[in-house]
Amino acid sequence: MNLSGISPEVLIAALMVASTPILLAAIGELVVEKAGVLNLGVEGMMIFGAICGFAVAVETGSPALGFLGAAAGAAALSMLFGVLTQFLLSNQVATGLALTLFGLGLSALVGQGYVGVTPPAMAKLDLGPLGDIPFFGRVLFGHDAMVYLSLALVAAVWMFLNRSRAGLILRAVGESHDAAHALGYRVVAIRLGAIAFGGACAGLGGAYLSLIRVPQWTEGMTAGAGWIALAIVVFASWRPWRVLLGAYLFGGVTVLQLNLQAAGLAVPVEYLSMSPYVVTILVLVVMSSGRGRAALNAPASLGRVFHATT
């Protein structure tokens, strides 16, 4: 085994890239859940975003348009969930699961013509002399625009939820939809908006996989990233900065196990591959053990069907 081949700066830089798809999806789902909606369809929206983004980028030659297409496509898919759960009052858990299966199938269908195609490359942001700083240049300033966008999004969501009136109303809806309705807030409209935002974020996360991280289209390429994103929202107890921490922790374990595999660690590859998922489960177990709902900070109306009685 040769650990000297693992360089910390490459590791950290790779970790940020590996974490970005999950981070994007998780921060979107956080907003959805703060509004009191449990959308388990993140995986389906991610993979649909991955193929939408891939297809648009290939057809137009512009990765930026690809990302826009991914956000729009996945948001449109999330509206299917929105209409079913908010207007037809279907069960959120079942509908979310169905959305994942539907997204996986639909993306495979749309992606038939794109297998083996290489997408246009996204230019790295050239930050000039900043990129030449030893260590930090590579770690902090050597990424593509989406990495920075994802970080900005975490900050923006935190600002929105904790500092703005609109964010307060969104949290209020997630806390008690009946009380919010009695005060005259439009529960369904606010929730639809949150669901669409969550869909768009998941789509961006998916497109980051297919356009930058891999970059290629293969069926089922999200490989459970959407589920990890859902777990990270719980891990973060619905706090934006902790979503960042959770996503980077997961990304770190992923990258580290790849490096350990390359270094020839004498552990079967299967154990290393499963390690990020095992860590996620362990963290969830520790987080959830012996604590009440409030300690976990979960929105009180999470997953409950809202039906205005008046």
């Binding site: 307060l168 005259g184 409030a294």
Partner: protein, 507 residues
């Protein structure tokens, strides 16, 4: 310039199958406290929802200060100067006081300024409140202060209060009334909804009485007795529950130093609760909601397990037994929440009768249900307790609150318990059904059962219980004979006024 603030003419609202309001007309004058009286289902809530813009009337019109007034949403109502304190709090438990207040305002100032304003207004009206506290940690009385202050910050011209005193101690009620009188003195009109008649007689200038969606009378509440008002409200003569005095028997239910943590983060833990209930006796347990009532019921029914020797039934240790085992021994319970706790809403009355009656009524045969016997048991409950339903095959959800409550209580009483624990037996039940339920509980005690009635309705407890104890923050006061208690003493047993400052109001 007239002195009428809000004038309502011919307001009508129909829901499928029900005419909730039928051509309701009345006026509210400037600076008056106007009572809206009526039974549950009389249409009071629908009427105020129309005034507050939550429901649109089918016909009729309203004028506010001489101008047509037809709010399409609560936002418009608030902009016009109408504010409302809800019966079931419209508060968000996980948010802070200041955030809750901001949500109820049209154009809230920045948080820091708002916190300052909350302090200022709350002290002016003698309702101290810390804007940074999380609402989930507040007592019911404090929560109501949040609602009232949310309204006051908007300087309303009309303040609607929907049954505001149901969760307050008598001392807190006094302070609330002082605040309301002061507001009225400053020119604010108050529409006060309640079915507590003594309060209305003490507080209100005029009353409008609703029955089945119609205005059936207008009265000066100070000129009439509570009984006359009640009979106008119900439309018939009321019977008062009574029972012959019975000798007190052996101790049936013995609870010794019961301490239990609440399973819910906003719940109240029980702290060394001790009580002995004798055969033939009704022990009334009062207290403001959220002081451990739900936990006490769960601990007695067996939903929450306790140390084995903390609860004894006729000398047998039952603390470690679950609900079914306790039922078998004769300790029965009926929780507060009818739909979802006492009864499964979408299951039929037969199935609901089976659920608690299976053991004592022998409705099972080697693990198989004896449907015929279960149905017969349900029919007996329906007949004996005058439950208005087409038959036992109808879902529990289809019954009105009062009828379902009669069914739920009747189901336990017919099982001839040695000890029965009920929580809020007449909550949200109309006066006639409430009287029937109280009578049934008294009959049960007269037959020799030990009965524990947990309730927030003090009048009810004074009427039916032999001894009274109060729950305050999970502690139970020592039970005292009801006959020798005054309202002030009861208030103090319930925890007094929760640090409200009477002095400010008087000043």
């Amino acid at each position: 310039m007239s002195d009428v603030l809000l004038s309502i003419e011919g307001l009508t609202k129909a829901y499928p199958g029900v005419l909730a309001n039928d051509a309701v007309s009345f006026d509210i004058r400037k600076g008056e406290i106007h009572a809206l009286l009526g039974e549950n289902g009389a249409g009071k809530s629908t009427l105020v929802k129309m005034i507050y813009g939550l429901v649109r009337p089918d016909a009729g019109r309203m004028t506010l200060d001489g101008r047509p007034y037809a709010p399409a949403s609560p936002h418009e109502a608030r902009a016009a100067g109408v504010a409302m304190v809800f019966q079931h709090f419209s508060l968000f438990e996980a948010l802070s006081v200041a955030e809750n207040v901001a949500l109820g305002m049209e154009n809230p100032p920045p948080m820091r300024a708002l916190a300052h304003r909350i302090r200022e207004v709350s002290e002016t009206y003698g309702l101290p409140l810390d804007p940074a506290r999380v609402v989930g940690d507040l007592s019911a009385g404090e929560r109501q202060r949040v609602e009232i202050i949310r309204c006051l910050l908007q300087e309303p011209r009309l303040l609607i209060m929907d049954e505001p005193t149901s969760v307050l101690t008598p001392q807190e009620v006094e302070i609330l009334f002082a605040t309301l009188r002061r507001l009225a003195g400053e020119g604010t009109s108050i529409l006060y909804i309640s079915h507590k008649l003594e309060e209305i007689r003490a507080l209100c200038d005029r009353a409008t009485i609703l029955r089945l969606g119609r205005v059936v009378g207008r009265a000066d509440p100070q000129a009439l007795s509570a009984r006359e008002l009640a009979e106008m409200m119900v439309g018939q003569e009321l019977m008062t529950p009574s029972r012959p005095p019975a000798p007190r028997g052996e101790v049936v239910l013995d609870v010794a130093a019961l301490s239990l943590a609440s399973p819910s983060p906003f719940g109240t833990s029980l702290k060394s609760v001790t009580m002995q209930v004798h055969a033939g006796e009704i022990l009334g347990i009062g207290g403001v909601a959220g002081n451990g009532q739900d936990e006490l019921l769960a601990a007695l029914s067996g939903e929450m397990l306790a140390p084995a020797d903390a609860i004894r039934l006729c000398g047998i240790e039952v603390g470690q037994l679950g609900p079914t085992a306790r039922r078998r021994l004769g300790l029965l319970a009926a929780p507060e929440e009818r739909l979802g706790h006492a009864a499964a809403p979408d299951m039929t009355l037969t199935e609901n009768a089976l659920m608690t009656g299976a053991v004592r009524q022998r409705l099972l045969n080697r693990g198989f249900v004896r449907w015929g016997a279960a149905r017969e048991f349900a029919c007996r409950i329906i007949e004996r307790f005058d439950v208005r339903t087409p038959g036992p095959e109808h879902a529990a959800r289809s019954l009105s609150g009062g009828n379902l409550q009669k069914f739920v209580i009747g189901r336990e009483i017919l099982q001839r318990p040695l000890a029965l624990v009920v929580n809020q037996p007449t909550w949200g039940v109309d006066a006639a059904a409430a009287a029937a339920i109280r009578q049934a509980l008294m009959d049960l005690a007269a037959e020799g059962a030990a009965v524990v009635v947990i309730s927030q309705d003090l009048d009810e407890l004074m009427e039916i219980s032999d001894r009274f104890a109060a729950l305050n923050e999970g502690r139970l006061s020592a039970p005292r004979p009801t006959a020798e208690l005054t309202v002030d003493e009861i208030g103090l047993m319930m925890g007094g006024a929760h640090d409200m400052e009477v002095a400010h109001v008087a000043g």
